[in-house]
């Protein structure tokens, strides 16, 4: 219910309402197409628009969720102190509400990609596992950030800057082949990079995933989740104590 309410709230008051959830990614693809075909990188592979769209979709899911996640405990204090809502449920519900947009983005990507002659096979279904991995990471990281924010209120600004830095360390615009050759530590040290590389493998190149990266990223996901659960269990009661 909280997830549904959060999702609805995003479009509350707008005339077109939830239709924006479809229009937004559609216009985004169109704008990338026009910008990257006629203005920037004119000699690029036409599939670069799809490459970029997947990168931005993954990054937006991560950044939107974690950005919201930083203040989630404080923002939902009224549910914790008045009806005793389980704190972990708040994080799952929040990530779930954004997941709908993510799923819509991927769905529209798949439709548009057919126009660019992208082929799909059974391995493309691994997108579900990759998304689940991303979901775990987002929930775990949000729990960690939100607990830190209870003690360090300026942390929201620190995270804003970290996300800006993160955008350029993940191969969203630049070629992900570099991470294998020049910057391998980024592939193994940053799970978002690994998920993105594997997502492109299954949804753009019709190839299989890198299993070692896949396993490592799941380990990251569970690790973040365990740390997150531990932190909110130990420290999150502070949210009721602090204004």
């Amino acid at each position: 219910m909280l997830a549904a309410t959060e999702y609805y709230q995003r479009y509350y008051g707008s005339k077109l309402g939830v239709i924006w959830a479809f229009l937004n990614p559609l216009f985004r693809i169109l704008i990338y197409y026009l910008a990257f075909t006629y203005l920037i990188f004119r000699n690029r592979d036409p599939q670069f628009i799809l490459y970029l769209f997947l990168g931005i979709t993954v990054w937006q899911y991560f950044s939107e969720n974690t950005n919201k996640g930083v203040t989630l405990l404080k923002g939902k204090k009224y549910l914790i102190q008045n009806v005793g809502m389980a704190k972990s449920d708040i994080f799952f519900a929040s990530a779930l509400s954004t997941s709908v947009s993510f799923a819509l983005n991927v769905f529209l990507y798949c439709i548009v990609s057919l126009w660019f002659d992208v082929e799909y096979s059974f391995t493309s279904l691994l997108v579900i596992a990759l998304f689940f991995n991303l979901f775990l990471i987002v929930v775990g990281v949000s729990m960690i950030l939100s607990t830190i924010h209870l003690y360090f209120t300026d942390f929201k600004h620190v995270w804003d800057i970290s996300l800006l830095l993160g955008f350029w360390t993940v191969p969203i615009i630049w070629d992900s082949a570099y991470v294998y050759t020049t910057y391998p530590f980024m592939l193994y040290g940053n799970p978002i990079t690994g998920i993105l590389v594997n997502l492109r493998n299954v949804l753009l190149y019709n190839s299989t995933i890198d299993l070692s990266v896949f396993a490592l990223d799941f380990a990251y996901g569970f690790l973040f989740l365990i740390i997150g659960f531990g932190l909110i269990k130990r420290f999150s009661f502070k949210v009721v104590e602090r204004v």
Partner: protein, 262 residues
């Protein structure tokens, strides 16, 4: 010895808050304060508290403003943890009613009711079925789809009360709630529901400055003074203790004070 009826037990519980009085003047002070290294003051709100609440109890909490009544209430619900001592909490679900009760102001009354009641385990079908009744009870007929930010405090309080009527919780927490719940007519209606159905099989913890309410409903009263909690089985005795030992009032003053609305 364990009491089977016991749902909350605070054993030698103490709670201290850390308060920063001023913002740092220069960047260094601000950074150290942000990291929690700044000059801080410790305020002991609860000191070695030992209380028990049993199923079906109607417990009153009285004390001066800022004495730690709400902190004790949060401790009972399990929303905050003590620095010292242990809490045995067997409360499955609770709802806390307070005047500034934090519904989400960006959501409508309908969404807030759906959200809160569903968290408290009421099936969506049931909430939808009873929604019109809730809105009618709260006298919010034409405002059911209005965002709560446009509601007055009284309207919010009425909505909160209506939600509390709908849900089945183990524990009902009322934090100085009744006084602002509406006009006289609504208060009368709320008191009637409170007596006839809301209290049925419920454990209630009530914070109030209205000694009449405390005397009328409570079977046990906790008086807070300087972090210490004194427990009384007889409300009249508790009120007498509060007036004499906490407020320092003589019997002449007593008849004219604290009989107003909670």
């Amino acid at each position: 010895m364990t009491n089977a009826n016991n749902i909350v037990s605070l054993q030698h519980v103490s709670k201290t808050f850390t308060v920063f009085d001023h913002h740092g003047k220069n960047l260094g002070q601000r950074i150290s304060q942000a990291l929690g290294w700044g000059k801080a003051r410790k305020i002991k709100v609860l000191d070695n508290v030992q209380i028990e609440i049993n199923r079906g109890d109607f417990v009153g909490i009285i004390g001066k403003n800022g004495s730690g009544k709400t902190t004790l209430m949060h401790m009972i619900s399990g929303a905050i943890k003590p620095n010292k001592g242990g809490v045995v909490n067997r409360v499955g679900s609770f709802i806390r009613l307070s005047l500034g009760m934090g519904f989400n102001p960006e959501l409508s009354a309908r969404q807030n009711v759906l959200l809160n009641a569903s968290i408290l385990g009421v099936p969506l079908k049931e909430i939808r079925k009873q929604f019109d009744e809730i809105i009618a009870f709260a006298e919010l007929g034409s405002f059911s789809d209005t965002q709560l930010k446009f509601f007055s405090t009284g309207m919010r309080a009425r909505l909160a009360f209506a939600v509390a009527v709908l849900v089945e919780t183990d524990l009902l927490l009322m934090d100085e709630f009744f006084g602002g719940v509406g006009d006289e007519a609504f208060k009368k209606k709320a008191h009637k529901v409170f007596n006839e159905s809301l209290l049925k099989d419920k454990t209630v913890v009530l914070i109030s400055h209205n000694m009449e309410t405390i005397k009328k409903y409570c079977n046990r009263v906790f008086v807070i003074n300087d972090g210490k909690v004194s427990c009384f089985e007889d409300p009249s005795e508790a009120i007498h203790f509060y007036r004499n030992n906490v407020l320092g009032m003589n019997s002449e003053n007593q008849s004219n004070s604290e009989s107003l609305d909670p």
